[in-house]
Subunit: 476 residues, 2 copies
């Protein structure tokens, strides 16, 4: 098998050139192999630069990222400083923010500047944006003029926009060039992006006219004009578009990349699918975390940081739980008489909570993926009510029999069965209506749905069960 050997591509794609390493550093479960970690640890301790150059320097950026996350925290900086110029800063785009900052803060600005000059602009921005103003300016000042202007432009766009995420390097040609001219230009120009899948067509003011995919270039004859084979770009991404929205455009139209344009329709960069995959994943993850009552925490956060980020949600829940408790206290006298009620009431409340969280999960996800909208909302609400009724009858009957036998009292069985049915209907309605309403008023349904739904199912559960019992035994 032939290897491209010395050529410039090797720099760009070290992983492929060192295929053997890939199988080497991971154990079957996907974690970094323990013995490899120990070897690296020993090499760092011994300052064995030869070993590191040979077995670590050439890792793919994502493998290097995994390695940095897996080794002992005190060896991290030592590893990076031993690798020196051999350390590919792009690996920092693959690690936790805490680790990234820790490493960047301990690297000399000269080294960062040199590394950033070599990087694709999107990776460079990813690292620069986390630095404090002063360091960032110092690093930018060390860069060549065009590079600096490009990075400043990206950094000028707000966080989480397409402009901030785009790569500023692209290939653009005028519409009157022929395919032959275009190919010759690409064969000669040394300043092309590391990799690209299409060529943009622009007018002299950089206004975007169209796009030609590379397979299209290759299928066309040399004398064909670019403007006759280009197609309109129907999905140019405005630089100020939110990255989540941009990711949705990629997903819907199966794009590999998309032109990013400024307010005047001028081409300023290109968004690529690999960055959008990260956004899509982050977005799905965000919903999951928020439904679980967790904010933007990272595995490397300290106890104090984690605790602080989780406390607000716990306090809100403490408040709603106290509300539910005060509902119970309304029925103190009944409980005093029939302790069985105290024993059974958590079952009613808890099952409502479970049923509510099922409906809520489906609703939140359907809203996020835009599968739930005004056209089917009413149908889904009716369906959920039906499911609540059916499952409420089933679970109610079941627990009614169990409780009736347990306490040798058919009254208690009937009461808990009815209360369960009521609460599971309430849970179904709360589980769908609360996220729908939150979404309608512009709030993120993933953030606060759970609190409201639990509040509804707890209070309804306690109130219906204890209230029914109080009423029934008072007339009985």
């Amino acid at each position: 098998m032939t290897d491209t050997g010395e050529d410039d591509r090797e720099r760009a794609r070290p992983a492929e050139a060192h295929a053997a390493d890939v199988d080497d550093i991971y154990a079957p479960d996907g974690s970094v192999r323990s013995d490899f970690l120990m070897q690296v640890g020993a090499a760092v301790a011994d300052r064995d630069i030869l070993f590191l150059r040979r077995h670590v320097a050439h890792l793919h950026e994502s493998e290097m990222g995994d390695l940095l996350e897996a080794i002992q925290p005190d060896q991290r900086r030592a590893l990076v400083s031993l690798l020196g110029a051999d350390f590919d800063l792009a690996a920092l785009t693959e690690v936790d923010e805490a680790i990234r900052l820790d490493i960047v803060e301990h690297l000399p600005n000269e080294q960062i500047a040199a590394a950033i000059g070599e990087m694709d602009s999107d990776d460079a921005v990813y690292i620069l944006e986390d630095l404090d103003q002063e360091d960032r300016e110092e690093i930018l000042a060390k860069l060549p003029f065009t590079e600096r202007v490009r990075l400043r432009r990206s950094l000028g766009y707000p966080e989480s926009t397409a402009g901030r995420r785009m790569r500023s390097e692209f290939v653009a040609v005028p519409p009157f060039w022929t395919i032959g001219q275009t190919i010759d230009y690409m064969r000669e120009d040394d300043d092309l992006p590391e990799s690209f899948t299409e060529i943009f067509v622009i007018d002299p003011t950089f206004r975007l006219l169209g796009v030609v995919e590379l397979d299209r270039v290759l299928r066309s004859k040399r004398d064909v004009k670019v403007e006759t084979v280009m197609r309109q770009t129907s999905h140019p991404i405005p630089a100020l578009m939110d990255q989540e929205e941009a990711a949705q455009v990629f997903e819907q139209y199966d794009l590999l990349s998309a032109a990013v344009v400024d307010e005047n329709g001028r081409l300023v960069g290109v968004l690529t699918i690999d960055d959008m995959v990260d956004v899509i994943q982050e977005e799905a993850e965000e919903d999951l975390m928020r439904l679980g009552g967790v904010g933007d925490e990272e595995l490397s956060d300290t106890v104090l940081e984690t605790s602080r980020s989780r406390v607000p949600w716990l306090l809100v829940n403490l408040f709603t739980a106290s509300l539910a408790a005060s509902v119970i206290s309304l029925f103190e006298a009944t409980i005093e008489e029939i302790v069985a009620l105290a024993i059974l009431m958590p079952i009613v409340a808890g099952m409502g909570g479970n049923a509510g969280s099922q409906t809520m999960t489906v609703t939140v996800r359907a809203l996020a993926t835009r599968n739930l909208d005004i056209h089917n909302a009413w149908r889904v609400v009716r369906r959920e009510a039906g499911v609540g009724l059916l499952n409420g009858m089933l679970c109610g009957t079941l627990i009614g029999c169990v409780a009736g036998l347990w306490f040798q009292d058919p009254n208690i069985g009937g009461i808990i069965a009815t209360a369960m049915l009521i609460n599971m209907m309430a849970a179904a309605l709360a589980g769908i209506l609360i996220p729908l309403v939150l979404d309608k008023v512009g709030a993120d349904p993933a953030v606060s749905s759970a609190v409201f739904v639990t509040a509804v199912t707890d209070t309804t559960g306690f109130f219906s069960f204890l209230g029914l019992a109080t009423w029934w035994f008072s007339i009985g």
Copy 2:
């Protein structure tokens, strides 16, 4: 601006050629515009084929999918049959399974066969795999030989494998060809895939030797041999690899596409990033749904289907809730004496449940993204215990003061504070250890963690609170 007009590309990428429609069919909130739906509905009712050809036939497959999901169910089949040959079956890859089956079952097999002949093989397989044996064979029999062999090979691989998801069309050349020969071949051959980003290099037995990206082809001189510019493919995907694993390879190495090889290293197809994006999204969604106690349901499922899929989880929870209730029943006598305990106990259990679900959510996600492994598990367990301690002290102190004042009894305040601390520590440990152990023994932590964690926090909550109270008041 020039349009590619009549050429074959237009068939392949209708959306881009009809850019105006894109803005037309969606309302600002991302749902299909209501007036567009009404126009289409009216056209279907009037059998106004002209309108449909003009405004519907040329929609991008994903737009057509959204339209099919949004219109009245009874108009769906009518719309498809009115469009006839103008209906692009690829739209069916974008809709709910229930809708897909409904439409496919009502289309004549001839029409399906004709449409499948036009499609990329990965889309064709997506539709064929859902059909029953008989229909599938009938359709396959109508296809040309090579097409049929290709599709049968894909269908022969198990569900959810790379082989089932791959596209069988690709461009492959021998290593001794020159770049010039390769380009000429692409200019002349009409049977190329609709779009591609790289060329594979194979030996006469179809064994994969390497790959050349199109940008690499364009940058090379005509007389250069393919074998000197190709690079080794370090990430060929075995056809039997699970699609989730394949998606992880794409994600880690930022691939746009990857060669799929059989057991003998022979090239059989190509996986592309757009299909992997769907897999990545599905995977994240699966975790979310499972944590919420929901299976693989779809928004179009009926009440009965939905109810049936959700019942098992409810029944398991009914069982654990009953266990927790039986813990309460141990302390019947104490509750009879001090009703305040019955009022407060759900707070202790509920807060444990919340804290446990926070830790569990983070753990399940970290396991899924492989951020949590043996190298950092111990550190994360210690961190979670620390967070449990800290938040337990905070919430315990708070509820202790509130409860003490509420019931005018410092004893009760002290007891609930201590029980809360104990339960939140238990919640933290259960939240991290249960998913870790489930993962270790090969079970999916997203599926069953919630049940076990709730069981722990409920029983610990009731037992610690009521037990402490019984002990304290018995010695007091």
